[in-house]
Subunit: 409 residues, 2 copies
C-alpha cells in the first residue's frame, strides 16, 4: 500500500526552513509497512496544493499533509482538500466552543479569523491539537485516507503519534512490532560497530537513529500476528542488549531524566546542581520531568568564578587545580549538596566556547557526582558549538548520575 | 521565471536522511529572483524520476536535481534526463581520461561501472566535481535549463556556488531583497491583525512565520536591481515597524538573549536570575549567548520553597502572597541581585504543571525584573504542557528584561 507526503508552506520553498516533518513521517510510514514513493513541498497556494493533492490521490492510498492549517488566509490546506473532494465545509459548533474557550483563557479574545480552524467536512474527523490551536483532519473517502496535521513539528509529532499512527496501524495488513533501545554514552558509529551483523538482518530489521538526547536502536519485526512478530524480535533484542550493556538506559520513550527520577525516588534521595558551563541547562533538563519537585531541591549557576567560592567551593581548590578541572567539579557538587541540603550533588565546569579558558580547549568539560555512595568525576572532550557542548555536557552529567546510582561508577 | 527542485534518493523516502539540499537551493534560487513553486523528493527509480522531471519541465524553466549521479545501477538521474529529452549518451573521452587518472591516484584502479560518470549528451555540459567522483550536468534546451548535481551536500554546494550559480545569475533578470523583523510578546494571529492590509501586498510581499522563539515578519521585494528592491521595501518595512512598535526586538537572526546582551553591555550591568518554574531554562537561554560571562553573574534555581527563603526571599512575603505571586517573583529578583552582587535580578515563579499548586492553575506564571531603574512584575497565563510553559515563561522574562532596559516598563 502506497503513501505520499505533502509538506505545505511557502517558507519551505523560500528555503527559510528545512522540512524535517517529511523525513520523520517517511520513517514512520515505512515502519507500518506503507511504501513512500514521492514526497512534495508546495507553497501556500490553494491551486498548487490542490494540484499536488490530486496527483497524490491518483498514485497513493494514504496521503499525509503537514502545514497550512493556521487561521490566516495563507493557510489553504483545508480549502484545497475541499476542492479535491468537492465537499463544502461547515463549522463544528462543539469544537468552535472549545476553541473559543481556549483563546479566552490564553489571550482574552477570539480572533474571528480562527473560526476556520473549527471547519469540518462530511468525510473528515477533527484531530484535536492539545498543544496548539490548529487542529488536524482525518479524511476517509473512496478507499483513500488523508491525514492533515499542523506544520509545527512539535504539534505534528504529538498528533501523529497519539492520533494518526494508531489509526494507520493495521491499514497495511501486516503487523509490525518495534522495540526501541535507548543508548547513552556512545555515538551512533560505535553503536553500529557493536551491533555488527545485526544491522544487516532483514526481519527483524535493526537500525540506529541519532536523536538529540540519545542513540535509538530500533528493532522491528513484521508478521501476520503480534505474537509472531514478538517471537521473531526477542532473540535479536537480547543480543543487542548484550553487546550494548549498561549503555542501554531504557526503552521506547524513556529519557535520562526520567530514569534518574526513578532511581532517586527509590532511594528517597534529594538532588542539587551547581553548574558553570552548562549555565542552567542541566537543572532545566532535570526539571523537565513532571514531578521533579519531589527530589529536586534546586541549583546554583555559578557563572562567575567568585560566585563559586561564595557558594562554598574552596578558593584553594580553584587556585590549585583551576576552574576547569575534576577537582573543581567535585568541589562544586560537594558545595551545593551542603548548601541546599541534598543527598546528591552534581557539578559541571568546562569551556563551552567560543574562546578557550585557562589554556583549556573549547569542549573540555568536567562533570562530577557526590552522594552518600561516594564521589566520581569525569572529563569530557567534546566537539561542536557552544549550544551543542552545553547540551552534551548536561546529558553526560545525567548519565554519570544514572551509572553512579546504579552502582556502576 | 520559475525553478523547481528535485531531490533524488531512496534513503530520503525511507526517512533515513533529511533532505537539506532542497532548502539550501531554494534559498539561493529565491535570492537570484527565481520563483520556486514545487520541491519533490523521489526514490532511485528511473520511471519515477523521469515522470517527476517531465512535470517539472512543464511548469518551470529551471530544474535543479541533486542525487542519483553515482556509478551504481541505483543511480538513474542521467538515464532519466536522457529519457526526458530523447537523447542518447556517449562517453566523453577527455573527461573519462581525467576520471581514470583521478581513480588511479586515489584508489589505484578504475571500476568499469564508473564509465557512466563520463557520459555526455548533446544538450549537456559536464560540471566537474573537484572534491568527489560524480560530475554534474548543465543542460540547456528549448528554453529550459536542467542542472544536475551530486547528492552529497558538500560536493553539491561547491559545484553550485562555483559553477551553477554563476551561470544562473542574470537568467531571471530580477533581484530579491528580504528583511525580517523579529517580534516578541505577540502571537502570530495578533501580528497579522496589526499588519492588516500589508499581508495582501504583492511587491513587497509580507508574511508571518511562527518560530520557536519569536514571530518573524518577512518582507520581500523583487526588482531589476538591489537598490530598486530596497526602495520598494523601505516604506512597507516602516509601516510594519510602526504598527508592531516595541514588539519588534530585532532583525534577521537576532535573538532576545542577544538583544538583552547588548543592552546590558551598554550599561555595564551584571545580571542574576532566581528561577522556580523555569527550573534553569532562563539562565540557560541567557548563557546560550557567546560571551555571556561578561554580564551573567549566575543564578539560583530555588525549586523547593525553603531554598527560596534560605536564599533571601522573606518568609513573610511567601506566607502573605503565596509562592505563585508577583510579590514572590519580585522578592526573588531582589534576593538574587543582592546574593550574587548583580545590578539586575530576574525572578520566575509559577505552575509548570501537570498539577496545580496553591490552588493556582497550570500556566499561571509570575516574572519580575529588579534593577537600578526600578521594579516590574507581570503575570502570565500560559497554556500547553510543562516544557512549553517553561519555554514561554523564560522568553517572556527575557522580553520583560528587554523592555525594562529600554525604559518601556
Amino acid at each position: 500500500m502506497r503513501a505520499e507526503i505533502l509538506s505545505i508552506g511557502t517558507e519551505i520553498l523560500l528555503g527559510h526552513i528545512t522540512d524535517t516533518n517529511a523525513p520523520y513521517l517517511a520513517h514512520h510510514l515505512s515502519e507500518v509497512g506503507l511504501d513512500v514513493f514521492f514526497i512534495s513541498q508546495v507553497g501556500d497556494n490553494q491551486g498548487r496544493v490542490a494540484e499536488t493533492l490530486r496527483r497524490a490521490w491518483d498514485r497513493a492510498e494514504v496521503i499525509i499533509t503537514t502545514g497550512g492549517l493556521g487561521p490566516t488566509e495563507d493557510d489553504v490546506t483545508r480549502e484545497a482538500i475541499c476542492e479535491l473532494l468537492g465537499e463544502t465545509p461547515t463549522v463544528d459548533e462543539t469544537y468552535l466552543a472549545e476553541l473559543k474557550a481556549l483563546f479566552m483563557r490564553r489571550v482574552g479574545h477570539f480572533p474571528p479569523s480562527n473560526i476556520k480552524q473549527a471547519w469540518i467536512i462530511p468525510s473528515a474527523t477533527i484531530l484535536p491539537n492539545p498543544i496548539g490551536t490548529a487542529p488536524g483532519w482525518y479524511v476517509q473517502r473512496d478507499g483513500h485516507i488523508i491525514i492533515s496535521m499542523p506544520g509545527v513539528p512539535r504539534e505534528m509529532k504529538k498528533m501523529w503519534e497519539e492520533q494518526a499512527l494508531p489509526r494507520l496501524r493495521g491499514v497495511s495488513g501486516a503487523t509490525l512490532v518495534t522495540h526501541i533501545l535507548r543508548v547513552a554514552g556512545l555515538g551512533e558509529s560505535p553503536v553500529e560497530e557493536r551491533l555488527g551483523e545485526l544491522i544487516h538482518s532483514t526481519n527483524p530489521t535493526v537500525a540506529t537513529y541519532a536523536k538529540s538526547d540519545a542513540v535509538d536502536v530500533r528493532i522491528s519485526a513484521k508478521a501476520a500476528t503480534k505474537e509472531e512478530a514478538e517471537a521473531l524480535l526477542a532473540p535479536v533484542e537480547e543480543q543487542a542488549r548484550r553487546v550494548l550493556g549498561r549503555h542501554v538506559f531504557g526503552e521506547g520513550g524513556a529519557t535520562l531524566q526520567g530514569v534518574v527520577a526513578d532511581l532517586l525516588r527509590q532511594r528517597q534521595w534529594q538532588l542539587a546542581t551547581m553548574e558553570s558551563c552548562t549555565g542552567g541547562l542541566l537543572a532545566s533538563y532535570i526539571t523537565d520531568q513532571p514531578g521533579s519537585s519531589d527530589y529536586m531541591r534546586g541549583g546554583i549557576i555559578s557563572y562567575a568564578t567568585d560566585v563559586k567560592t561564595a557558594m562554598g567551593v574552596p578558593q584553594e581548590i580553584v587556585e590549585q587545580h583551576g576552574v576547569i578541572s575534576d577537582a573543581t567539579a567535585l568541589a562544586m557538587a560537594r558545595a551545593v549538596r551542603d548548601k541546599l541540603g541534598a543527598h546528591v550533588g552534581l557539578g559541571t565546569t568546562g569551556v563551552a566556547g567560543p574562546d578557550s579558558q585557562e589554556g583549556k580547549p573549547v569542549g573540555e568539560v568536567h562533570i562530577a557526582v557526590v552522594s552518600p555512595k561516594g564521589e566520581v568525576a569525569r572529563q569530557l572532550n567534546l566537539r561542536g558549538e557552544r549550544i551543542e557542548i552545553k547540551h552534551r555536557s548536561a546529558l553526560a552529567a545525567l548519565d554519570l548520575l544514572r551509572l553512579h546510582l546504579l552502582g556502576e561508577v
